[in-house]
């Protein structure tokens, strides 16, 4: 596993995709402190100022039939990390979002490049609202952060490591 950390990128997903097309290294992680064009699904915006945890992982080759449960399992990994570290009660909105007290705290976006029915590249982007103090007006009612819920800062590196470990375990089980 190799983690490339960037100060600011438009989107870690885009960055990882570029990296994957150059060298297909499984478990290469693009991590950013800040995203200017953080993306959710269908091009939806993912609010990504400094303080949050934003990363995209180049996944190992996966069979096309296993693809569909991948995002699912990743949501469980993120929720489990939050539950076990902070004794919070996350709610998983299947297949790809994690909520705390009715507000979104993390989201997962999986993108695959498929050619001839074979998955050439799979990239999983995960955004966790960790140390965000506040949200813009339009998101205030819909989003929350671990810092807001706990009233204290959390360790982004630790959360990153645990999520990555959980993702690796999914692949080992196959």
């Amino acid at each position: 596993m190799k983690i490339l950390e960037f100060e600011k990128v438009d989107s870690t997903q885009k960055k990882a995709k570029e990296l994957a097309q150059k060298e297909k290294t499984p478990w290469l992680v693009a991590l950013a402190k800040e995203q200017t064009k953080g993306r959710g699904r269908k091009g939806n915006f993912w609010y990504s100022p400094k303080g949050g945890l934003y990363f995209s992982v180049i996944l190992p080759q996966i069979d096309i039939d296993n693809l569909q449960i991948l995002t699912f399992l990743a949501s469980f990994v993120v929720a489990k990390t939050i539950k076990e570290n902070f004794k919070l009660e996350p709610f998983i909105k299947l297949p790809n979002d994690v909520y705390l007290r009715g507000k979104k705290v993390a989201g997962i976006l999986t993108e695959n490049l498929i050619c001839n029915k074979k998955v050439k590249i799979s990239i999983m982007g995960i955004g966790v609202n960790t140390n965000l103090d506040k949200f813009p007006k339009e998101l205030k009612e819909k989003a929350t952060s671990l810092k807001i819920e706990l009233g204290k800062e959390v360790d982004n590196q630790k959360i990153l490591r645990e999520i990555l470990k959980g993702l690796q375990e999914i692949f080992q089980k196959d």
Binding site: R41, I64, N96, L109, E111, N112, L113, I114
Partner: protein, 123 residues
């Protein structure tokens, strides 16, 4: 063929009858008719089939076409992005398996497709 089945506490009389172009199933007084699938055209020979299959780009998984990046007549390169198929909240970019010309596009944006449904035909 006639028989009785009991579901929970209710008895049903079922009659199954094969007819010329399908099967008729009568449950009590209600009739259902299952028509045989229209006969497909003469199967192409092996070599013909190979050729057309190589030109067909099929849906690898069921989903919804969220974006189409090419139009009929476009020349595409190998690995060029053709369309995005969203499934299970995943975005799947379907790439061209080879260089060629887009002969026909069978799908529209926001259309849902089944697995193995033909999406694009290359020339």
């Amino acid at each position: 063929m006639k028989f009785k089945i009991k579901i929970l506490d209710k008895d049903y009389e079922v009659e199954i009858k094969e007819e010329k172009d399908g099967v008729k199933i009568k449950i009590d007084k209600e009739e259902f008719f299952f028509k045989e699938k229209a006969k497909t055209e003469k199967k192409p020979s092996f070599s013909q089939k190979r050729e057309s299959e190589e030109n067909e780009i099929l849906a690898p998984i069921p989903g919804i076409i969220s974006e189409i990046f090419v139009k009929e007549g476009d020349l595409v390169k190998k690995n060029q992005k053709l369309l995005t198929l969203s499934a299970m909240k995943m975005e799947n970019e379907i790439l061209s398996p080879r260089e060629g010309k887009i002969k026909k596009i069978f799908v529209k944006k926001d259309q849902s497709v089944k697995q193995n449904e033909i999406l694009i035909l290359l020339e």
